[in-house]
Amino acid sequence: MNNTILKTARSKPTPRVRSAARRRETLSGYIFIGPMFLGLLILTIIPTLLTFILSFSDWSFISGVDKLKFTGFKNFSRLFDDDVFLTSLKNNLWLLLVVPIQLIISLVLAVIIDRLVYWKGLFKIIFFMPYISSIVAVSICFQLLFQPSYGPINQFLRSLGVSSPPTWLADIRYALPSVMIIMVWVGIGFCLIVYMAALQSIPKDLYESADIDGAGAWTRFSRITLPLVSPTTFFLLVTGFISSFKAFDIIKVLTEGKPAYSTSVVTYYLYTTAFENLKTGYASSMALILFGFVLLITLFQLYGQKKWVNY
């Protein structure tokens, strides 16, 4: 299409022709990027602005745009008196704990699989299975496994002599930890794969020279492996934090926030507020706070990358 122009541009670089070539280049740039950019504009950028606007309003989408009323910061002040919201937010903070636990387990597994075992590929597949499976199916399965009276987990505990095992998802104290156990289990595979890739990029001769110096396994791990995978650890920590704020499916399918909101999270409360109670404005203000938290973690990433990572 624009080949002739480019050709002439090369052979006769007069200013007018060159600017025509430029225009051609710019046009083809827009054609290539256009679809993606348009899609993101309509599906992400405009909705982001709308969330921002709606979060300052009192409105329900079924009542028509003319009923939209701006109420300033009222939604936000209401949010901080809303016990359900505060509980949900607190639960989100608890869920952050899933990430370091996941990282420790998966790093240990990665080191063992990378250095000590046969059939590495098989182990990668095994530990990756939960990540590939749908969270809906996994949640439904765990509902049965955690079943208080005849579920296999409690039957097993009883056979070990635990007379009154916890009722897991039905108990206000155990429900959130149960969810966290499942989240750890689901996420290990992802961290494991990323860690294994990082381990493979550590030069082998570092370990060899450590061997010559008579370093033990622990020294090698703490002095070579740990510092050299620290960029990966940092990356996994940040993406893990962000995705734990986005946890929704597991809560919706597994507990619906029950019992007594002990497993409710911000995304779930946002969903029920927007689509069950139809409070569009109020839900948008939650959405904005969620965005704020994710942004905060991202900023922490940009700042921390330089400070915390030892290359």
Binding site: S28, G29, F32, P35, L43, L54, S134, I140, C141
Partner: protein, 277 residues
Amino acid sequence: MDKQKRGVRTAATIAMLIIGAAFITPFLWMISASFKPEIDVFNYPIEWIPKHWNLYGNYREVWFGEHPFGTYYWNTIKVSALTTVVSVLVSSMAAYGFAHVDFKGRNVMFLVVLMTFMVPSYSIIVPQFLLFRWLHLFDSHLGLIVIGSFSALGTFMLRQFFLGIHRDYLEAAKLDGAGHARIFLQITLPLVKPALATYGILRFIWTWNDYANPLIFLRSDRLSTIQLGIQKFASESGVYYSLIMAGTVSAILPLIVIFVIGQKQVIEGIAMGGVKG
């Protein structure tokens, strides 16, 4: 020394096999429960290999009973496949544009795309919902495909690969008189094929497993995807656990097959960017 090393390896492998088996017990339990008659599901000690079989009965009930699992499957295959195709196409075009076309405003546009990446999907789900109702995309497969196809992630991932193509290739093609369309289709696309496969498989898996978008953007049961379908099935079948497990196995199985076939691409893709849905 060598003998000792082999001993350690064997011991570690055996230990890891035990840990690995424990790790996937939920799946084993799920599969075994789906083969059993209802009354045997919670028998203890657990009968990993069923004493009585009801494989045919359970799966027949799930697939040909009241819930249209065939329709759910077909819907999911359709939405996942089309989302993958559109997403790979649009992402690779944008990736080529950002990598190899030199146009005005490129850096600004790239920054904007980068910024959309930071917006959590749940933060914009309400306006998206309103927009979709207004655009008549609500409760349609087209809407679901549209929402899954435009993500900055694919653009970033593929851009890295397009940048990896040596400029000499492109310069030579330009000298031969090829325009961007031809360079893109005939030169760069074949070179980044492995990356397209990686991204395509990941996008397919993510779309297949997606629950939130179908939940919010679909209403009709006949349009439901498998994730929505099994959740409905589970909450409506109440205590028929063997059937529910047959349903969940049906939902997971295709992905396990795809994963085992495409594991190299999936694992490389995950490891490369540490990308996440």
